[in-house]
């Protein structure tokens, strides 16, 4: 039934957005729909489904226990991801924690790119709603290293057009227009990216994670797309989460 609802929604979105797909402009009707969706984010449903999936592994209590915190401490703890977790000896996002938790619970871990994983990650991150991002990139050498790597990946020019993330997301171009799209400020002063993903993307009619969004920019700008969960991807997430540090988490976000 849930899937049915999803499909109906996607079709509705598709038919109203497809005319705008070429240049990604936000027309008046897009804007009207956006306003309506702000009231009723289609991703709420997917977050709900993520909650159901987590319940098979003990729900919030199970997750808190797995992470070694109390249920009360859980929201603030989630607000600090990606984190270095000693047991894994890696800096990980919540999706990767869920993979380990699935395995330890005797389940085959979901793929990072699966829709169910996006739903679950969105739910887990939404537990931190109203908390402020509290990532600590100086917490340990591993986090320091991830931050440095993330900044480097962000600034590395590559791909068919020789662009870096920084080419379009440095402070001197924020607000300039690329093909009718104003370039967003990815820091806490702007859209506070890390506080608003996972988000529902109207142009994709689906819930997407932050790393999945990075892949979108890579693809559009002709940078070779790097895989979800790679050290470099997690590092990018660390870097941009630190940029949004202090921003209040509000998940699921709603994006064009």
């Amino acid at each position: 039934m849930k899937l049915g609802t999803k499909i109906v929604l996607s079709v509705a979105l598709l038919s109203s957005l497809s005319f705008a797909s070429e240049q990604f402009a936000m027309s008046d009707s897009d804007r009207a729909m956006y306003a309506e969706m702000l009231e009723n984010n289609p991703a709420d449903m997917m977050v709900e489904s993520g909650s159901e999936l987590l319940s098979y592994m003990g729900g919030d209590a199970g997750l808190a226990k797995y992470l070694g915190v109390t249920e009360d401490e859980l929201p603030a703890y989630i607000a600090g991801f990606p984190r270095y977790i000693k047991k894994f000896d890696m800096v990980v996002g919540v999706d990767q924690v869920l993979q380990a938790m699935m395995r330890d619970g005797g389940h085959k871990p979901l793929k990072l790119k699966s829709g169910n994983m996006f739903d679950m990650s969105a739910y887990v991150k939404s537990l931190a709603n109203d908390e402020k991002i509290n990532i600590d990139v100086n917490a340990n050498p591993q986090m320091k290293e991830a931050y440095t790597l993330g900044k480097e990946v962000f600034e590395t020019k590559r791909g068919g057009r020789g662009l870096a993330c920084l080419s379009c997301h440095s402070s001197d171009v924020i607000g300039s227009v690329l093909r009718t799209q104003p370039l967003p400020d990815l820091s806490a002063k702007g859209v506070a990216v890390a506080a608003t993903w996972p988000a529902y993307r109207m142009t994709k009619s689906s819930l997407r994670t932050l790393q999945r969004r990075f892949q979108g920019c890579m693809k559009n700008a002709l940078l070779a797309v790097i895989p979800l969960g790679s050290k470099e991807m997690v590092a990018l997430e660390v870097y941009l989460t630190d940029e949004a540090k202090g921003a209040t988490i509000a998940i699921p976000g709603l994006k064009r």
Binding site: L178, R179, G229, K231
Partner: protein, 176 residues
């Protein structure tokens, strides 16, 4: 297959292998180092504009205009003019998407990250503020005169060949 295994198969997370491993093989963490290394932009390269590069032939200008205004073969509007290659694998060619950042005569949805190139011949060429070599180099590898540029690199990356850069240059410097 045992009943236990079958039950696990239909459990939520489809199946479970029972041998234990360390987390590096449980948690997806593929290596992207090589992808990035291979994809890295080569150092800034200076180019000399080829002999006979700039043309007033309407066909060359039409090709330049087409590359300038379009993104790729799949999304490109109308058919490309004669003489525009597809890429090596026969897939749709990526075009310049220059209007993403530049306004110019007839641009639809032109951006403003780069300077407005409208009336380029009148403002920049006739006044001799710019010349063909400058424009060619700018499109081929913009880093040569501006190391921190946000402009795309088009010849060093091999996204375009000399002829295509010449077509684009011809288009930009032509009176419109």
């Amino acid at each position: 297959m045992s009943t236990l295994q079958k039950n696990m198969m239909i459990s939520l997370f489809l199946g479970a292998s029972l041998f234990a491993t360390d987390y590096s093989s449980v948690i997806e963490s593929p290596d992207a180092t090589k992808i990035i290394e291979k994809d890295r932009l080569a150092p800034a390269t200076a180019y000399k504009i080829p002999e006979g590069c700039i043309s007033t032939d309407p066909k060359a200008i039409a090709r330049g205009a087409y590359i300038f205004h379009n993104l790729n073969g799949k999304k490109a509007k109308m058919n490309p003019p004669a003489g525009l290659r597809k890429n090596a694998k026969g897939k749709n060619k990526q075009y310049g998407n220059c209007v993403a950042c530049h306004n110019i005569e007839g641009a639809q949805g032109g951006g403003n990250i780069g300077p407005d190139l409208t009336n380029y011949s009148g403002i920049f060429m006739e006044s001799k503020v710019r010349n063909n070599q400058f424009v060619y180099q700018k499109i081929a590898d913009s880093r040569v005169d501006n190391p921190n540029t946000h402009m795309t690199v088009n010849l060093t990356t091999k996204l375009f060949n000399e002829r295509e850069i010449c077509d684009m240059t011809s288009y930009i410097v032509s009176p419109k």
